[in-house]
């Protein structure tokens, strides 16, 4: 194993070599849940306990292994060795080219593994309570386990191909789970929409992949210096120019980013994510908040060297040089962050608000990646995974407790009816808002803001993100005051959820707070871990006046948002039919926001209309042109067939009939010998033997 000392720049040296146990058994992490899914798939419907047990057991197994791998990475890092171990193998050969696959263990993968398995495990447990009354319980767990396996294999894959395959399986399970209640037309439509929309990004992703393979001849990320993300391949990519001032590296990076845009619901492909809330709430929490949508962010982080290639002054500080690709990512992220936050302000469905919030936060992550590098974006990804899945589970608990009501205007006062849910939801909400100092969301968002502040190209993203933070605080406070304060406006009596649902939420709440510790400026452990720098406790970092000012500003913004919302909505308990406060103030703006800024409608009149028109053209072509040709050919053959028939009838048949007659007569004669008695045949056999023998002797006579 090559050894890297100290904090030399990033991961340029290859730290692969004799693989350790942790990496050799890494493949078990995704395979075990997939096997569990396979077993669950053949279980009968009533075997609920077994199905849930298998899924949860496999996930626990993966979690333990992930912890083991994580510990291995942390231990090596702490002793000065950065771990990047890979296991590669050739999948198959085409001509002289081997298509290689492999898996990788590095800090990035390790962090994701622990997050996905842990959050996944909690959500699995939660689901046993949430889905307890669903008759397709086993199917649910089959899909869920399959998703977990695919997601984990996505995380550990060291090959863009394997990553893409897992990516597609993840997409498939997302489709299946959104449409889990397929008897609801809206769910079926949402599933279809999610599948199609993400496919747009995936096609570009595939293009980028093919291009990468064509240029570098490998899809492995790291392969002892021969991988596509390593110096040699990047060098090749940088020398190729792809037009528009892009290098091949940048262009491929952008194409891959397009895949991430689809998966992570970035503007303009975000439309599927809010609709995906038609799926069961645990699915929303796991797939559409914590893991799958974050896979786009993870993908960008994974191919970050590609994006970053050619940037002036590659470094690890917040202000490293930028490339076109990174700029595109930054702008997409910043715009998405504000755009989605705006829409979230005017939504009434509890899960839809969270969905737009997710889109917005994913925008933050992308912007963080674009401006601050892997550590900043990934830290927000991890913290967000915890508090957003917490919020979704809380929302699920609320929905469960208030008899499948999702409209926040028909809730209210749940603070007393569901105390546990209220407390954990409040923690999640404060973390999401970025409530100062205590909550993890504050520190991760602060990191992004800090990076944006230091971005040399433009200050506009910073302004956008700060505005987004204000909106986030606003809409979350609005939601919480609608749901938990005021008086109960729904029907029936709300009740607290069972223990199996609240305990996972409490665990998540704990981490929503505690995770902040590892990413404060004073102890940038997470950054150090990901970027392979030493991390030391250093309270002096707070002394920087820039940082203090930034923290102050973001604190102010958060308080402003919360205060505004509380002033407008706090404890008012408006009736469901009553127009919103903001609607009275600015009806046109409200209408625009409420209708999601008409993005779906724009797609309706542009993309969909085009496809309708195109389908009609194709239909016409099919009927008139191709159909005509086919009919002509058919006519020709029919004529030929008629001719043949005439020849057949008057010429061939006569001879054939005669032959048949002869055969029939001779067959009748032979049938006499066919007595139906076994012994006759046997006798004939023996007789034949004797005759043959005589012939043999006769012929071999000297």
């Amino acid at each position: 194993m090559l050894i890297q000392e100290g904090a030399a720049a990033a991961f340029h040296p290859q730290l692969t070599g004799a693989a350790s146990v942790a990496v050799r058994i890494l493949w078990l992490i995704p395979v075990v849940p997939i096997i569990a899914a396979g077993i669950v798939a053949v279980l009968k419907q009533p075997r609920r306990r077994l199905a849930a047990g298998l899924a949860i057991g496999s996930m626990s197994f993966s979690f333990v292994l992930a912890l083991f791998a994580f510990a291995h990475v942390v231990a090596s890092w702490a002793s000065g060795f950065a771990v990047r171990e890979t296991v590669n193998f050739a999948w198959f050969h085409i001509g002289n080219e081997a298509v290689a696959m492999g898996w990788i263990l590095d800090p990035l993968a390790a962090v994701m593994l622990v997050m996905v398995t842990f959050v996944g495990l909690l959500i699995f447990i939660y689901s046993t309570g949430y889905m307890a009354h669903d008759e397709n319980f086993t199917r649910f767990f089959c899909f869920l386990a399959l998703f977990a396996g695919a997601m984990l294999s996505l995380v550990i894959s060291n090959s863009l191909l394997l990553l893409f395959m897992s990516w597609e399986i993840v997409g498939l399970t997302s489709y299946l789970l959104i449409g889990f209640w397929y008897h609801k037309p809206s769910a079926a439509a949402a599933a279809k929409k999610a599948f199609m929309t993400t496919r747009v990004g995936d096609v570009l992703f595939l293009l980028g992949m093919v291009w990468l393979f064509a240029e570098t001849g490998t899809l492995l990320f790291y392969n002892h210096g021969a991988g596509s993300l390593e110096g040699f391949a990047l060098g090749i990519l940088l020398t190729q120019h792809a037009g528009l001032g892009l290098t091949a590296a940048g262009a491929i990076g952008l194409l891959i980013f397009a895949g991430a845009v689809g998966k992570s619901g970035q503007f303009p492909l975000h439309v599927w994510l809010p609709d995906a809330m038609e799926g069961p709430t645990p699915v929303s929490a796991l797939i559409h908040a914590a893991t799958m949508v974050a896979a786009g962010v993870y993908l960008v982080a994974r191919v970050f060297p590609l994006m970053q290639a050619g940037a002036a002054g590659i470094g690890t500080t917040a202000a490293f040089g930028s490339t076109t690709a990174l700029e595109v990512i930054t702008w997409t992220g910043a715009v998405t962050a504000v755009f989605a936050a705006l829409i979230a302000v005017a939504q009434d469905d509890i899960k839809r608000i969270l969905a737009y919030s997710t889109v917005s936060q994913l925008g933050y992550m992308m912007a963080g990646l674009g401006m601050g590098g892997i550590a900043v974006g990934m830290f927000h990804l991890i913290t967000h995974a915890f508090f957003k899945s917490l919020l979704f589970l809380g929302a699920g608990s609320v929905i469960h407790g208030s008899h499948d009501e999702q409209d926040i205007r028909r809730m209210g006062g749940l603070r007393s009816a569901m105390p546990v849910t209220f407390v954990v939801y409040a923690i999640g909400m404060l973390a999401l808002c970025g409530f100062p100092l205590l909550f993890s969301g504050f520190w991760s968002k602060d990191g992004i803001l800090e990076a944006a502040h230091g971005w040399s190209l433009s200050k506009a993203p910073f302004d956008l993100l700060v505005f987004g933070a204000l909106l986030t605080a606003f809409y979350m406070t609005r939601q919480v005051s609608y749901v938990f304060f005021g008086r109960w406006r729904g029907h029936g009596h709300a009740h607290e959820s069972p223990r199996v649902m609240t305990v996972p939420m409490c665990l998540l709440a704990f981490f929503a707070i505690a995770l902040g510790v590892i990413g404060t400026p004073a102890w940038a452990w997470f950054r150090g871990f990901l970027l392979n720098e030493p991390a030391a406790v250093n309270f002096a970092a707070f002394a920087s006046s820039d940082l203090l000012m930034l923290m102050g500003a973001s604190t102010f913004v958060v308080f402003l948002g919360i205060g505004l919302a509380w002033w407008l909505y706090g404890n008012r308990s408006p009736a469901a039919e009553e127009p919103d406060k903001l609607e009275k103030a600015a009806p046109w703006a409200w209408a625009a926001l409420r209708n999601r800024l008409y993005v779906d409608e724009i797609y309706e009149v542009t993309v969909l209309a085009f496809f309708h028109w195109w389908a009609r053209v194709a239909d016409w072509l099919d009927r008139r042109i191709w159909g005509g040709i086919v009919a002509g050919v058919a006519m020709a053959f029919r004529g030929w067939a008629q001719l043949n028939r005439l020849i057949d009838t008057f010429w061939v048949d006569g001879g054939f009939d005669k032959g048949c007659e002869e055969l029939s007569t001779s067959g009748g004669l032979l049938a006499r010998a066919h007595t139906g008695r076994v012994q006759t045949y046997l006798r004939l056999l023996a007789l034949g033997f004797v005759v043959l023998f005589i012939v043999l002797i006769w012929s071999s006579r000297p």
């Binding site: 049938a671 066919h674 007595t675 139906g676 008695r677 076994v678 046997l682």
Partner: protein, 103 residues
Amino acid sequence: MTPLTAYLLVAALLFAIGLAGALTRRSAILVLIGIELMLNAANLNLIAFWRYGPHPEFLTGMMFAIFSIAVAAAEAAVGLGLVISIYRHTQTTDVDQITRMKG
């Protein structure tokens, strides 16, 4: 040491007895017994030739015998199954009366 001829003659005799049984008995089961005897006569030949052949180390005759025993076991199982099935249909195992396959 017994000469090979003796074994071959015994085998030929067994074969003839088996053939006679298969050709002269009425009962289908007895026909099968005769066939088994013929197969066994062939086995005896195989083993004898293996033993007296120039290359016993190749085990060719022995292998043939082993495979032949396996085939014979399968033949007996299927044959007797057929006999039982036929009996169920016609209430007889007399091969003289079973002439449904007459051409």
